[in-house]
């Protein structure tokens, strides 16, 4: 078992700076998810840990050893690829046994380990088949099995679920989580899917343009994003943003724009105060908007026109026109609303986010 430490990790590709000064500690037995839009450097970071990509500068440590110059085979890691990368000319058994054979394990030990892994994954009946005779989900299991049999110090996952259909993806996500609990091996998981990141990760690392934006537990990132990018990336539907102007005195700050305006809640006032007579970006999550009732403070309510009603069953998404701005509200499935309705919405004062419009950092 081992921790993984990335120190000032950099990667240049033909003049493009793909990974910039990444510092990250993945603790022993921890499941860390790297998440970000495509091209954010998450896969490159993972491949540098695997040894498949050379390191431009900085260090990768597995355990206490700097592995920068070790070939992949000597790093004691296992990797699961997006396209499974099963060896097409070998049976499932041979696919799983390959790594052990290369490492000169005894035949009986190989058999034992493969059986054990096949049992964990429920693929005992497939051992004699070739990869092309398997469904997507079964291939994914074999790819996982191939990683498990090795008992590596670190698991690396490169978007392992993105080739599966939606239903299977959810199912495999749960299984992965269970598997990690059972094996408790250090794992680094790369995905562009924020749901996977939130559900799987002990901690989540959000990356953009090769730079780590924020590291933290899923809910920490969700509730207190450090900048507008993290706030907008996590959560579905995404957070609503509006550029508003701050005005008023210290105790009675208002944030407004044509058609939309609220009073800044007193607990946020000290932080927003420096922005008087300047623009800030306000962020409101769709689920923090609700139809106004008598108990809402008048200063936190605003009017909106319903543009589109999306009934998802468990909730209803309302696409709203607020002044010149569109917003999405996630409301109870019992709400009766139709296109063109003019409704009054309230929001929770403790769930408001403010961002510096220029730097995008949270205020």
């Amino acid at each position: 078992m081992a921790r993984v430490l990335l120190r000032n990790l950099n990667k240049m590709f033909d003049g493009m700076h793909a990974v910039k000064d990444v510092n990250l500690e993945i603790r022993d037995k921890e499941f860390v998810v790297l998440v970000g839009p495509s091209g954010c450097g998450k896969t490159t970071t993972l491949r540098m840990v695997a040894g498949l990509e050379s390191i431009t500068s900085g260090d990768v440590l597995i355990g206490d050893t700097v592995v920068n110059n070790l070939p992949p085979m000597d790093r004691d890691i296992a990797m699961v690829f997006q396209n499974y990368a099963l060896y097409p000319h070998m049976t499932v058994y041979d696919n799983m046994a390959f790594g052990l054979k290369m490492r000169k394990f005894e035949r009986t030990e190989i058999g034992k380990r493969v059986q054990e892994a096949a049992e964990i994954l429920g693929i005992q009946s497939l051992l004699k088949r070739k990869p092309r005779q398997l469904s997507g989900g079964q291939r994914q299991r074999v790819a996982l099995g191939r990683a498990i049999v090795r008992h590596p110090r670190v698991f690396l996952f490169d978007e392992p679920l993105s080739n599966l259909d939606a239903k299977l993806r959810v199912q495999m996500r749960v299984e992965l989580k269970k598997l990690h609990t059972r094996l408790s091996t250090t794992a680094i998981y790369v995905t562009h899917d924020q749901v996977e990141a939130m559900t799987l990760g002990d901690r989540v690392v959000v990356m953009r343009d090769g730079v780590v934006q924020q590291v933290g537990e899923p809910l920490e990132l969700y509730n207190t994003p450090v900048n507008r990018f993290v706030a907008g990336f996590l959560g579905s539907p995404a957070m609503n943003f509006a550029v508003v102007r701050v005005s008023g005195e210290k105790d009675a700050l208002r944030a407004y724009k044509p058609g939309f305006g609220i009073e800044v809640p007193p607990e946020l006032a000290p932080r927003v105060a420096p922005y008087v007579e300047r623009d800030v970006t306000i962020g409101i999550r769709p689920e923090d908007l609700h139809l106004a009732n008598g108990s809402d403070a008048a200063g936190l309510c605003f009017d909106a026109v319903v543009e589109v009603v999306e009934k998802l069953g468990s909730e209803i998404l309302l696409d709203l026109q607020v002044g010149d701005q569109t917003m999405v509200a996630a409301v109870e499935p019992t709400v009766q609303a139709k296109r063109g309705d003019k409704l009054r919405f309230g929001l929770r004062p403790d769930r408001l986010h403010f961002f510096d419009t220029a730097s995008e950092a949270a205020i």
């Binding site: 992949p72 085979m73 296992a78 990368a85 060896y87």
Partner: protein, 283 residues
């Protein structure tokens, strides 16, 4: 398949296909008929009343007997087989390593090297045999099988390299990366994973290389002179055409027997080599 009315299928599919098959197969038919036709029919003038060009009523094996008994045909077959097999093995081996290196390894001038290899393939043999003849003479290899075994790879290696390069590029990189993480060195990953997956490509490279060597004419004509050293294409045409006399029967028998090994190889590996050309690898 072409959809729509029946006549469309005939006009756009069956008739063109029929014409194509006829044009391709007719020479073989002609070879067969001429092989078994007795001399008395072969040299019958075309205006004779019993002139039957497309079939014969008195089939005979005398031409084949003559070919096998009175000429060095079996020696030529053996020469051709030996030269083709050795040249193919050398070329596929070199092409395998070169193709892998050019498609997978990053090294300076990899791109221009690949183009360079391709360009050597474009130099026509009809020009290249002149300098090659000089080299063959300098090394005293003339009139030995080595003259061909060593010169055929000059056009076979570029061919195999390019065919296999394309094939390797179609194999997902992750297969190899996964093998290397699993504990294989680059060499082992190549031998245990990449090459087995590339077998259709390797087979088609081998078949093509074999066919090209088997049918090669110019180098064989120039570099070999004594009858006992000749290959089938050269032996048949030089020994069975004497002056301006064409011994049509043995000539055609030689052509027919000479094309049999290639036909057997093709039909045996047809599935593999179609897969090799269309380059389908599924992970």
């Amino acid at each position: 398949m072409i959809e729509g009315a029946k006549w469309r299928r005939w006009v756009f599919f069956y008739i063109p296909l029929g014409v194509f098959v006829f044009v391709l197969l007719f020479p073989f038919y002609w070879m067969m008929v001429t092989t078994v036709r007795p001399d008395s029919e072969l040299y019958r003038p075309w205006m004779a009343p019993n002139y039957t060009p497309f079939w014969t009523l008195h089939p005979t094996l005398e031409h084949i007997k003559y070919l096998l008994g009175e000429t060095l045909f079996s020696t030529w077959m053996w020469n051709t087989l030996l030269i083709s097999i050795v040249a193919t093995i050398i070329s596929v081996f070199c092409g395998l390593l070169a193709g892998y290196a050019l498609s997978r390894l990053h090294f300076p001038f990899a791109g221009s090297l690949g183009t360079g290899i391709f360009i050597t393939y474009l130099v026509p043999q009809t020009l290249l045999f002149i300098p090659l003849a000089d080299i063959i003479r300098n090394f005293s290899l003339g009139d030995t099988p080595w003259a061909l075994i060593l010169t055929y790879p000059t056009f076979l290696i570029p061919f195999c390299t390019w065919l296999l390069m394309g094939y390797f590029k179609a194999i997902p990189r992750e297969l190899e990366e996964c093998a290397r993480i699993d504990g294989a060195t680059r060499w082992k990953a190549m031998v245990y994973i990449v090459f087995p997956v590339a077998i259709p490509g390797i087979l088609s490279a081998g078949i093509f290389a074999f066919t090209l060597s088997w049918n090669e004419f110019i180098y064989a004509l120039v570099f070999l002179s004594s009858p006992a050293q000749k290959t089938v294409p050269v032996g048949v045409t030089s020994e069975l055409i004497r002056g301006d006399v064409f011994f049509w029967g043995p000539l055609m028998a030689g052509a027919l027997l000479g094309s049999i090994p290639v036909a057997i190889i093709y039909s045996f590996f047809v599935e593999h080599y179609v897969a090799g050309l269309t380059g389908a690898v599924k992970g």
